[in-house]
């Protein structure tokens, strides 16, 4: 019963709704006014669908210099009442990103406000790579590592980015695209 209903709803929506929703409208506004540093790029797998896209980040300084990091943005129709959902698609060694790609950034959850734009989220992500926050870790091992010695941490990051191991975990090679 439920499935049938969902199907009917999906079909109806494509034929009946001719209105751009407030969420789509705001996303359009935010996207066309993005002002990103040269280290960041957006990528739309389907240019018709502006609610789902990827953001590429290539830090030019800090521990992660040279890495190609990909984030996935998924925006629902309650935007900007609700924040976008962001995941890191690479398995990386980072205090604020776990091995499943969850990102710990306050403005993505508890500190989200509708006045914040997609631009501010993207800049926030970039900042995480310039200054990983050991005080509020998601990957606790990485955070303690960073806390103990920046040099060791840097070496571990470097190794991980080449597709190497840190402890028992093997990470994605993010130096090559």
């Amino acid at each position: 019963m439920k499935q049938q209903q969902a199907k009917a709803a999906g079909e109806g929506a494509s034929t009946a709704a001719k209105k751009v929703t407030a969420a789509q409208l705001r996303v359009q506004k935010d996207l066309t006014e993005l002002s990103l540093p040269p280290t960041m790029h957006t990528h739309f797998a389907d240019p018709e669908d502006i609610m789902n896209f990827q953001v590429f980040l290539q830090p030019d300084e800090g521990f992660y210099v040279g890495a190609h990091i990909t984030f996935e943005f998924a925006i629902n129709l309650n935007f900007p009442h609700e924040p976008p959902k962001v995941k890191c698609l690479n398995k990386i060694y980072h205090p604020n990103i776990d091995l499943q790609g969850n990102v710990c950034l306050n403005i993505l959850r508890e500190d989200w406000k509708p006045v914040l734009s997609l631009n501010s989220v993207m800049i926030g992500l970039q900042y995480l790579f310039l200054e990983p926050n050991a005080g509020d870790p998601l990957n606790k091992e990485a955070a303690m590592d960073l806390q103990k010695s920046r040099a060791t941490f840097a070496a571990h990051v470097k190794n991980s980015m080449r597709g190497g191991y840190v402890g028992p975990e093997k990470f994605d090679d993010v130096l090559r695209r």
Binding site: M1, G12, A23, L25, Q28, T32, D98, R109, D136, L138
Partner: protein, 418 residues
Amino acid sequence: MTINALDRVIEIIGPFTDESYVPGPHVKEFLENSKVLVIGAGGLGCEILKNLALSGFKDIHVIDMDTIDISNLNRQFLFRAADIGKPKATVAAEFVSKRVKGVKITPYFGKIQEKNEEYYSQFTLVVCGLDSVEARRWINALLVNMVDDENPESIKPLIDGGTEGFKGQARVIIPTISSCYECSLDMLGKQQTYPICTIANTPRLPEHCIEWASELEWVKVFPGKKLDKDNMENIQWLYEVALQRANEFKITGVTYSLTQGVIKNIIPSIASTNAVIAAACCNEALKIVTSVNPYLDNYMMYTGNEGVYTYTFQHQRKEKDCPVCGKGNGYLTVSIPKDITLEDFITEELMLRPDIKVKSPSLRTVRTVLYFQWPPQLKEATERNLSKKMIELVNEDEEIVITDPALPFSLRLRLFYE
């Protein structure tokens, strides 16, 4: 002895009625001929349907996409245990039409988004009893956009009710005239969220353990499988995982009921508050349609947990800052030659118009992106549209939305081909 006041008041001018009120039997005729739409057949919706039927409305439509659940029965009084699983709209409509003779109630079991402007334009007004912010924003934006300055009948008043435990609110939105739902979006309380790092590493509350189970463990254990929040087995799994974590950290308070509450974001709901808010809404519906007395201007907040306290006030429009009804977010109708290209349309029609003042506009319809100036990939992907003819890209009944750094929000446009 029961006397229905309606037959009396329509015949007499009252001390508070507007000067323009003309009493007479036509008032009742108008009431009986008005079509009114009820959105939602839940806690508020059941009350609203009953109230409208007993207020003299004869032609009522109701939309709801849900089916009846056992947890509805403590307040949704048109449903019985035997109705569990059936569509709310259908059961509610049937019950009220059977009970109140002479009232026609037309149900629609589905989403409001499945209906188009033509459908919504048949109604005199809309009464909303929803628990979803998203659906409210949708209907609000639609009704605002439907307003045609030349045609007063295109203004469809929206009466919106909402409740949460002992609290609630009732409000009247006259699209483009009074504050709209989007204008007041910042009055909404934020949904409780917890930092993901707390959930992952430093859980302190039972809620942290429950979110750990649903946000982190579920995807790990069942990759690619969507969590069904209505499935009791899924909730049971989350509960057990959360409880285990809580025990590990010596956190107390994880229960099945709390797990379900956190996962489904359950809002407490009782019959009495729904009755108060629905009645306040329908009282306004009756006054708006008949003009027998002035209607609410425009917001009543209700708090019933400490004595009874209400606050009635005029919520102000956000003017140009409202992305939906703000001034400057105009709605234009433009007629253009059949063979004009998108590029010419932008440079010759849009950018030269003195009333629009756009410099580098980006355009889309609900179906497709026409042309985005930014970001670069979208510009590249849409540039090829520039040389295409408008008529190949956009139908006459489709809306074009234009954003531009120079505009406070957006511009909506509808085309006519000459």
